[in-house]
């Protein structure tokens, strides 16, 4: 190995350790600079007196946390984040199991059904939510029109009342239900296709054997299919959980946290505090309440990857 620069270059491009590090370096550098450091900054901000006007970090201990915990807006946001996430997760999981069973069967027009069903996930979320905003409009909602047409709304003896509209986004309970509905709408396709991958991986021999042994549809479903796809269900929930917690477009576009602040969630409240009002410390502290979710995710992914020994 005493050749000139060519041989030297040749040696470097053949050495797996050198090439491996050189190839991986840009990815690691990007992640450290723009994910790891900002994450450390988020923690630093939450413990400091820092605003857009004054970005010198002076240590303030837990002052930001103490201050935000006192405000009713924050407590409402925390509660809503949990409520929206858990309820939409539960509904999504049940519906996704049904949808995955449907999509794993063969039927005519399946490609079209799959295309339509995937639309909510494949579309930019803010644009899909704009569609819902108009669908739930206070005056021109077609849902209200159908209810009026069926005499369930807008006449003296109607079950839903004499008023012409239900004001989906103006009524606190309906606004909350609407947000959950949009999250379910958005996450259902993703959850279903992941579960579908699990269902199609179940060995046909096993299902044939169950059939021979006389197991019916429900028995096969509850005693064979569902237990076998349980780990995949965990994976599906993990992704829908992360994407639900990581989103603020639905609430921002649909209600902006209103009426008053009753549908505010942590990301939107952190945005209002940290970006719009410039209180970086309080905003960062608010957003950090999402951190436990991240930890849980790390835990589940590591468990899943150990079990399947990723190929």
């Amino acid at each position: 190995m005493t050749g000139g620069p060519v041989a030297r270059f040749r040696y470097l491009t053949d050495n797996e350790k050198v090439l491996g590090s050189v190839f991986l370096f840009p990815a690691i550098a990007y992640i450290v600079l723009l994910v790891a450091i900002p994450f450390a900054l988020a923690i630093a901000f939450s413990l400091a007196n820092v605003t857009v006007g004054n970005t010198t970090l002076s240590f303030a201990g837990l002052e930001n946390f103490r201050r935000i915990l006192k405000t009713p807006e924050f407590r409402q946001s925390l509660q809503n984040t949990f409520f929206f996430t858990i309820v939409s997760q539960a509904i999504t999981l049940v519906l996704a199991n049904a949808l995955a069973l449907i999509l794993s069967a063969e039927f005519r027009g399946k490609w079209l059904a799959r295309l339509l069903i995937m639309l909510p996930w494949a579309t930019p979320i803010s644009l899909g939510t704009v569609g819902w905003l108009w669908l739930l409009d206070s005056k021109f909602s077609p849902i209200d029109w159908v209810l009026r047409y069926a005499h369930l709304l807008g006449s003296p003896d109607a079950i839903l009342g004499i008023q012409k509209n239900l004001y989906y986004l103006g009524n606190v309970d309906l606004a909350r239900a609407s947000i959950v509905l949009v999250y379910v709408w958005r996450m259902l396709p993703l959850s279903a296709v992941i579960l579908m991958a699990g269902l199609t991986a179940i060995s046909q021999d096993l299902l044939d054997q169950a059939d021979v042994d006389g197991a019916g549809f429900w028995r096969t479903l509850f005693q064979i299919k569902l237990p076998l796809i349980l780990p995949i269900m965990a994976v599906a929930s993990l992704f829908t959980l992360v994407f639900t917690v990581g989103d603020m477009a639905v609430v921002y576009v649909l209600t902006r946290g209103g009426p008053v602040y009753y549908t505010q969630i942590l990301p939107t409240w952190a945005f209002i505090k940290g970006i719009e009002a410039g209180a970086l410390g309080e905003g960062a502290a608010t957003a950090l309440f999402l951190f436990p979710v991240l930890l849980a995710v790390v835990f589940v992914v590591l468990r899943a990857s150990q079990r399947t020994e990723v190929t």
Partner: protein, 281 residues
Amino acid sequence: MGSLATGLRRLAFYVGVVFFCFFSASPFLWMIITTFKQDRDLYRPANNPFLFSEPPTLDHIRFLFEDTNYAVFLRNSFFVGVLVVLITLAVAIPGAYSLARLTGRWGARAGIGIFLVYLVPPTLLFIPLSRVVASLGLNDSLWALVVVYPTITIPFSTWLLMGFFKSIPRDLEEAAMVDGYSRLVSFVKVVVPLSFSGIVAVTVFTFTLTLHEFIYALAFVSSSAQRTISVGVPTELIRGDVFFWQSLMAGSALVALPVAIVYNLFLDRLVAGFTLGAVKG
């Protein structure tokens, strides 16, 4: 008896298909109907909202392109998307190859680590990143998004490509190396061409991720001329309390539907990535 039960099950099955299709597609259906409606038809609560009581019109699509910044948003999104795809491919292709082939057992763990980065919610990082962006002098500029979006797309693309490179038989590269190519050259001449379909899939996902992204685009960019489509449509086309509903719907549907159709073509590869390689789809 038996045939009645099967008949009922078939009926329940198709009711299920129709229900899910309708649930998923209804906002888009509503967008498309609204787009072509005249004002005096749309804003009359007594009119059947699903039918055209007045002849359909293209006025609102014209308004969208001529009197709003919609075309600017489209151009901005395209600009950001293309640059982010280029950065992502340049970083993720070698990174994924390194994790798949060159780093051994340690690489498998690093792969999971990189995938975990994809799961860090942007809602956790946007406040500190807004300061990072400001200190780079990229405040209120599309370049802020070009710099930040790869933090989402690189981890995901690296993960997907890693699975792809692993599926290519090692023999092919080794044969090339026996023929006198170096590791680097055999990677460029043998592995990359064989992974073409994987690279196309990653390109599609990266581009759609940049179109989907909302928080960073909202937090880092505030002037109308620098808005992207996902933020521009819901914030700029709504002026105060005046909604241009038909144009708003047209602006959403024109992006949402084509993106969804292209995305669907590559769905199976995405699912393989999401199931952590645990299931062979």
